[in-house]
């Protein structure tokens, strides 16, 4: 049962100079079942990225645990793949060397690695770009490379930190379809942090809206749009009145939270 389970997760940052404490996360509990796709929304400073970094193992929580496969996460690992906003590709390597980076680190055989690289480059739509330097690719293509690099490692969970934030609208829509396709094809558990309410609705089978100060889960939605997006055009889904209603509801919610913060400052 490869579920991702967060139990009483708290994260308090202490400023080493002033000793001031900030509660970035407080009592976060959730269970993400295997194969679910989750998007996390919230105003800036609500602890979305902190939550993701804890799940990835880059930082340790002050208290509480995150467990994958009933095993408590203590540090970063290949079972949780990351996709960053800017791709974080290794610009000194060509596309295929970026993609097989994880395999090389595991010392996988060359033939096997090459086959996997070819497969995933095909899947993300980059056939024939293996030898291209990454800096010659457009932003969307770089993000495809980042996805392939993550998937080739066959992680149990894929964590995405605003993966499409830096892309133009058209590319973004294509990439959203790609993410849904990959989700269906691989059946991976996926957790996406995003700023875009529309994207969260389209990609999230489940959706958490987080609230700031202290960072906590504010409301959870279960949405049909990701499932529909596998077969329907995303643009059609966006025209759905139900889609618009939920979007307005969440936008108002986040707007109010931002207002509240501004009022407090």
């Amino acid at each position: 049962m490869a579920d991702l389970v967060a139990t009483d997760l708290c994260m308090t940052f202490t400023n080493p100079q002033t000793g001031a404490k900030v509660e970035a996360l407080k009592d976060v509990n959730f269970r993400l079942k295997e194969g679910e796709i989750l998007s996390v929304l919230g105003p800036s400073g609500c602890g979305k990225t902190t939550l993701l970094n804890i799940v990835a193992g880059f930082i340790n929580p002050s208290s509480g645990t995150v467990a994958l496969d009933d095993e408590i996460i203590k540090g970063p690992g290949a079972d949780r793949g990351m996709v960053f906003q800017q791709g974080a590709l290794f610009e000194w390597l060509p596309v295929e060397k970026n993609v097989d980076f994880g395999l090389r680190m595991k010392k996988t055989g060359k033939a096997e690695a090459a086959a996997k690289v070819d497969h995933w480059l095909d899947t993300v739509g980059l056939q024939g770009f293996g030898k291209t330097p990454t800096y010659q690719l457009s932003g969307g293509m770089q993000q495809r490379v980042a996805l392939a690099r993550c998937l080739v490692n066959d992680p149990e969970v894929i964590l995405m930190d605003e993966p499409l934030g830096a892309l133009d609208a058209l590319t973004r829509e294509k990439m959203q379809s790609l993410v849904l396709e990959l989700w269906k094809e691989t059946g991976k558990t996926i957790m996406i942090i995003t700023h875009s309410v529309e994207e969260a609705l389209l990609l999230g089978e489940r959706l958490f809206v987080m609230a700031p100060r202290p960072g906590r889960l504010h409301k959870e939605y279960r949405l049909p749009f990701a499932e529909r997006g596998l077969n329907e055009s995303l643009r059609e889904i966006k025209k759905d009145p139900e889609f618009s209603r939920v979007r307005e509801e969440i936008l108002t919610m986040i707007w109010d939270m931002e207002e509240e913060i501004m009022g407090r400052v």
């Binding site: 193992g57 880059f58 970063p76 960053f84 000194w92 680190m105 595991k106 993550c150």
Partner: protein
């Protein structure tokens, strides 16, 4: 071939100068046309505006060569090859007249007599009589002495008291000089003086170590040479003229007598006696300078001065076009005759002509040492057979033989020594066993290069790992930072005396000095590169399952590559500069060594050759590094 080129360097220079002129003008024309074309597509400030433009590079190089030729008097030698020899003869006349000119306000601002009077008056006024050394009578007498010396100065400066002998001699001198002037003018106009065969056989200007041929090679030169000889006789007679007016003679005897009397009289107090002796000695010193008759009334020299002026004018007329050549083509200096030779002074001296520099370089680059090539028994850049045994001896320490079981061979009862295995091992470790040889580069340039390369390799191999560790680890950064930051700012040359003492003046010391330089630069650049790795890349590699070692090797090292390569580029430059300076301090080979020797003997051609070699090699290094950077890190700044 080489000799022919060497003898005809003036001709070659003439061709080169014309070529440089043509290319200078042509590239300006091309450049202006190109600018006119491009002006339409490029606004001011467009970065494209500083791209390409070979023609301006050629234009700049041509201008540089023209300026070099001009100020080194290369143009003068190319187009007026006899001018230096003629100017040498003119300089001979100047030298011959210099004793007379020294007395006149021609070369200095004042008459020599004026300077003497001023100085003596000043000293006389500054010399006070210490209190209590004289009795009242003596006191009055010495004060009168002051007045007498003062009136002696007046007598010698008064034209109406000028001695008759001096008057006659000065008149004769003026007449003699006037005669020389008309003689010079006449001979130059006639122009039928023939140079001697010996003079014509002299090597031409600048082809041998005798810079300028001394004997006159032209009719004008012969005239000046002959006049200079006579002028020299006149100048000698001038130095013997003394101004002794009869009134002054009497005064001198009187003053001397009084000084003697004062010196003989004793003071009662021995302490007073000492002060008294000091004062009288000082007073006598001033007086002595006045009694030899070298002070003349300024007006008494009028005749001589006019004659010298006359001779100068005659010289200008006789020189004719030569004075224009001297003015236009011998900038920043002049040709000076001193004792037995004529030399170039000013820019002509310290800026050797381009052709001479090339000739000097050709001589240095000649690998045949017996033929006068190379420098101090070492070629500039050549090859040699390097015995393999030497390399083995370098790497295999002698103690390998020492720690082997058994003893070294001893002399036996037959008086023989039979080496055993242990001896053979020692011979091997010491490089005494011939194992063949491999071809190896050799020469001053290679020695310098070798030192830089070895130091650089050591610096990179040790500095980069430490720098990377300092970039990623708080412990390494803080532990080593004080050490490196303390020694790095010290100029390498400040370390040199210490390092040379510890490691010796051979390669070891210099390599260590350069290693210190390269090491600090490499540590700092690798550290900057490593600490500049984007956090997201590190996190991505963690998530892809890379271990700490793998992240160092596959992410942080490549990420630091641009800084490391830039560091190498900087280190090469700094090492090269330091090396040359270190070689100037000590050693027997290397480019810096050549310059050091050249400096001690003021061989400006050699100095310029070494400067050129260093510049060109530095340029080559930098171009290589730029190429390497271009090839290895095309992704720089694109992550």
């Amino acid at each position: 071939m080489f000799d022919w080129l060497s003898d005809n360097r003036a001709l070659i220079a003439a061709v080169l100068i014309l070529l440089a002129l043509v290319s200078f003008v042509a590239t300006i024309v091309i450049g202006r046309k190109q600018s006119a074309i491009r002006e339409k597509d490029e606004v001011f400030g467009d970065p494209e505006r500083n791209k390409r433009g070979w023609y301006w590079a050629v234009c700049g190089v041509s201008a540089l060569f023209l300026i070099w030729f001009y100020y080194s008097w290369g143009t003068a030698r190319a187009f007026f090859p006899k001018a230096a020899n003629e100017l040498c003869q003119v300089a001979k006349l100047d030298e011959a007249l210099s004793p007379i000119n020294a007395a006149l306000p021609a070369t200095s601002r004042y008459y020599k007599s004026t300077t003497l009077v001023a100085r003596n008056r000043e000293q006389l006024e500054a010399l006070a009589i210490p209190a209590g050394i004289f009795t009242a009578a003596e006191q009055a007498q010495s004060q009168a002495l002051y007045a007498k010396v003062s009136s002696l100065l007046a007598l010698q400066s008064d034209p109406s008291h000028l001695g008759q002998d001096a008057r006659n001699e000065l008149e004769a001198l003026a007449t003699g000089l006037s005669g020389l002037a008309s003689d010079l003018e006449a001979r130059a106009k006639a122009g039928n003086d023939a140079p001697s065969a010996e003079a014509l056989a002299q090597p031409s200007w600048g082809t041998t170590h005798v810079e300028i041929p001394l004997l006159p090679e032209t009719a004008r030169g012969v005239a000046f040479d002959a006049i200079a000889m006579q002028a020299s006789g006149l100048a000698k007679s001038f130095t013997r003229i003394r101004n002794h007016p009869p009134e002054a003679e009497a005064l001198i005897t009187e003053i001397r007598g009084e000084i003697d009397a004062l010196q003989e009289a004793q003071a009662s107090d021995p302490a007073m006696q000492e002060a008294r002796d000091d004062f009288l000695k000082a007073f006598e010193r001033i007086f002595r300078r006045l009694d030899d008759g070298t002070i003349f009334p300024a007006a008494a020299l009028n005749g001589v001065e006019a004659a010298i002026d006359n001779l100068d004018k005659a010289s200008m007329v006789a020189q004719g076009g030569l004075s224009w050549v001297a003015f236009a083509f011998f900038p920043g200096g002049e040709i000076v005759k001193s004792r037995t030779q004529c030399t170039e002074q000013g820019t002509g001296r310290w800026l050797p002509k381009p052709t001479d520099v090339v000739a000097q370089l050709g001589q240095l680059a000649n690998p045949n040492l017996e033929d006068g090539g190379g420098f101090k028994g070492t070629t500039l850049l050549w090859w040699k057979w390097l015995p393999i045994a030497d390399i083995v001896a370098f790497f295999v320490p002698d103690w390998i033989a020492d720690v082997m079981p058994g003893d070294y061979a001893r002399n036996n009862e037959l008086g023989e020594v039979n080496p055993n295995f242990k001896d053979h091992v020692l011979a091997f470790a010491q490089g005494d066993i011939y194992m063949g040889a491999i071809p190896m580069l050799d020469g001053h340039i290679w020695d310098s290069l070798f030192r830089v390369i070895v130091a650089l390799v050591l610096g990179v191999v040790l500095g980069v790992p430490l720098g990377i560790m300092m970039g990623v680890s708080r412990f390494f950064k803080s532990f080593f930072d004080p050490l490196i930051e303390l020694y790095r700012p010290v100029p390498p040359l400040a370390w040199a005396p210490l390092i040379l003492t510890i490691f010796g003046i051979q390669d070891d010391g210099k390599i260590f000095l350069l290693f210190m330089v390269a090491f600090a630069i490499m540590v700092i650049s690798a550290r900057t590169g490593a600490s500049g790795t984007q956090l997201s890349k590190i996190r991505a590699s963690h998530s892809l399952g890379a271990s700490v070692g793998q992240i160092l090797r596959h992410v942080i090292l490549p990420n630091a590559m641009p800084e490391i390569l830039t560091g190498i580029r900087i280190a090469i430059g700094v090492c090269w500069g330091t090396l040359v300076a270190a070689e100037m301090l000590a050693g027997t080979t290397g480019v810096g060594f050549i310059e050091n020797v050249a400096r001690t003997v003021s061989d400006y051609e050699l100095i310029w050759v070494t400067i050129l070699i260093m510049g060109v090699l530095g340029l080559v290094f930098d171009m290589c590094m730029r190429w390497v950077i271009h090839k290895t890190i095309p992704w720089r700044g694109k992550g």
